[in-house]
Symmetry: C2
Subunit: 386 residues, 2 copies
């Protein structure tokens, strides 16, 4: 256990992956809540919704028709935040003017995909047994692989292609016209997390630039490796947490999943591969199955915790699509789950005011959160409707 005193006093914990601190105020959950309440989610959705632009066979915004897919389905977002076709742009600094110091910009090209997790409109990952999550992981792997820099050391490492029987059909993954630098795979789940369609789906944004967060993590992973004679931070971390156990929510022989020491969101979870895996392509079939199991265990526990469809944003961090050998080698596959709920299906944590201006602040400790999530495994609290 961490020093018992940390359950009682306000303190800061250090996040070595970002090089940043979070303020922990364990005594603060006692305050009454009079603010905004989220709507508790009830699953009253049909398995097929004729007005949903993600259901099989339906029309999308740009007029295209979805195939009658039966597992996952990938297409280019009709309202992409980044585009592949646009003019090149680089601001031209006029030798040390105030403008070139203070008004810097650079063009970014990219491509945004949407990936459905299932043809059934009223499912979530929490409803899906691990074997039906496997095709999602295989599709992620396929997209990641098809966007890799041909010169990346990851191309050779690439494991045998996913089991064809569960491979997705009808996916629209064009060859990119440009070499992208990074691929961000993520899911926003629930209206509280800005998700505008309940059909189970995630997104994939891939860009010519390395985004802030993976960039910061890469720096800290590289420094750790350098300072500790080649050791990988997250390999060390998964080992340590698995031994200690108090922040573990679920683990199997390939992955540790738990509430990280430095987590910001009340029930934040990080999934870390126990051995050094740089990216999805480094996982073999068994490891992909283990990952499906972990995702299923986490999402089911989340829903069981407050007996609601638990909102979250989740995202995969892994090696850049193109980069130096050093960048690729120090990358370590992991997944972040950032869920906003704090006390019940309707009361969330707001990271506002102090958190925006000064420093992230959390109320319950990661150890308390992990214990509650560990204790609510087992069957999903609700029955499937269809």
């Amino acid at each position: 256990m961490p020093d018992a005193i940390l359950d009682d006093i306000s303190h800061r914990r250090f996040n070595p992956l970002r090089g940043s601190w979070v303020l922990v105020s364990p005594h603060r959950t006692k305050r009454p809540w009079q603010g905004q309440q989220e709507g508790a989610s009830e699953n009253v959705l049909p398995a097929y919704d004729s007005s949903c632009y993600l259901c099989p066979g339906n029309k999308r915004a740009a007029g295209d028709c979805n195939p009658k897919y039966d597992s996952t389905f990938v297409f280019v977002n009709d309202y992409s935040a980044v585009k592949e076709q646009q003019v090149d742009y680089e601001s031209t600094p006029q030798s040390d003017s105030l403008e070139s110091r203070l008004l810097r910009a650079e063009g970014t090209k990219g491509k945004c995909y949407v990936i459905t997790f299932s043809p059934e409109h009223n499912l979530t990952l929490a409803d899906m047994p691990a074997p039906t999550i496997l095709p999602v992981i295989e599709t992620w792997t396929k997209i990641y692989t098809s966007h890799l820099d041909p010169l990346s050391p990851l191309v050779k490492a690439s494991k045998p292609t996913p089991n064809p029987s569960s491979a997705p059909n009808g996916n629209i993954i064009d060859q990119p016209t440009e070499q992208f630098r990074y691929m961000q795979i993520f899911e926003n789940k629930g209206t509280a997390m800005g998700c505008s369609n309940p059909h189970p789906h995630g997104q994939i944004w891939t860009t010519t630039s390395l985004p802030e967060e993976p960039g910061i993590e890469l720096q800290h992973l590289a420094r750790y490796r350098h300072e500790h004679s080649g050791a990988h931070m997250l390999e060390d971390y998964a080992k340590l947490e698995s031994e200690k156990g108090e922040r573990t929510v679920f683990e199997n022989s390939s992955f540790w999943a738990g509430c990280p020491w430095w987590g910001t969101w009340p029930f934040e979870i990080m999934v870390v591969s126990k051995s050094h895996k740089r990216a999805l392509v480094d996982l073999d079939q068994k490891e992909r199955e283990h990952l499906a199991e972990v995702i299923s265990e986490i999402t089911r526990r989340y829903d069981n915790l407050f007996e609601t469809s638990f909102p979250y944003s989740m995202g995969i961090h892994q090696a850049p699509l193109s980069g130096t050998d050093e960048e690729i080698e120090c990358s370590h596959f992991h997944i972040h789950f950032y869920p906003p709920l704090l006390r019940s299906a309707t009361v969330r944590k707001f990271l506002v005011g102090y958190e925006m201006m000064a420093e992230p602040q959390r109320d319950i400790t990661p150890e308390q959160a992990a214990k509650r999530l560990r204790d609510c495994g087992g069957e999903l609290y609700r029955k499937r409707l269809n």
Copy 2:
């Protein structure tokens, strides 16, 4: 104008105050919104609410009674996130073990104040004419000054005390028992920003540690000063923006207020003192009046934009209470306003998914946002109710 092309293409802009990038996707506002809607606010509140723990004369959670104050009122938060009285704590690293590398913590003491802006329950800063905002600024200044390190160069610089006629009464500002490092003054306004009581009020959290955000800014301010022979980044920036005008929302001779080049939130505003002011204590009476005018102009325009009580978090960044002479000298007084609304009183921007995992992303450009805010000055759209 910035290169016109930036209105059309996805690009990144650099924030020199944080050393970080933001992704701008101007073409993206066209996508339809089917997600969560905020409740539009209607002001149907009474001027006095007997159940409000902030109204004059009422009882608070811990049983204390508020005085019958007539301008601002300050007291120690009954549910403080940091406490003054707690045991000292410093984790004791066992010479380079995994634990001491990866599970780092430090105790933090501090104090949290609440400050009401007015005795009237149904006002907001937008409803208050500039002269009635002045006591708020004077109270902030008073609290800041009373917590300064006696050895700080700011103590001597301290300008004549606020005009006694508008000075607050009944405030509870104890001498701190410990020297704090930083004071974060902020306001969360509106239920969308986690505010649980509509009575106009802000908060002040002060800690023995320097929080993340002001710490990051201090580093970048110091580096700029060092690299540009003593120039102050934000003095340069206010000058440049005031000349260019396209991101200006409002300015007077002491402050520039506008949508910063690198803003993340759709209608984010930064208020910057035009000459180098390190902290509230550096402002003279005239400058405090100018600041009251700026706050009044911003909050009124925010409300006029979508004809609603505009939610936001705002916070003041200024010199640490104690620190090196260099830290204090490179500090530059400024205020951030982070408002979430994007398209209307009910449709907000969610910084989730990609924004959490990869990089902040905005839809409209700061130039577009500033123009809209400039154009909606004048009288407040609604009438006061009482």
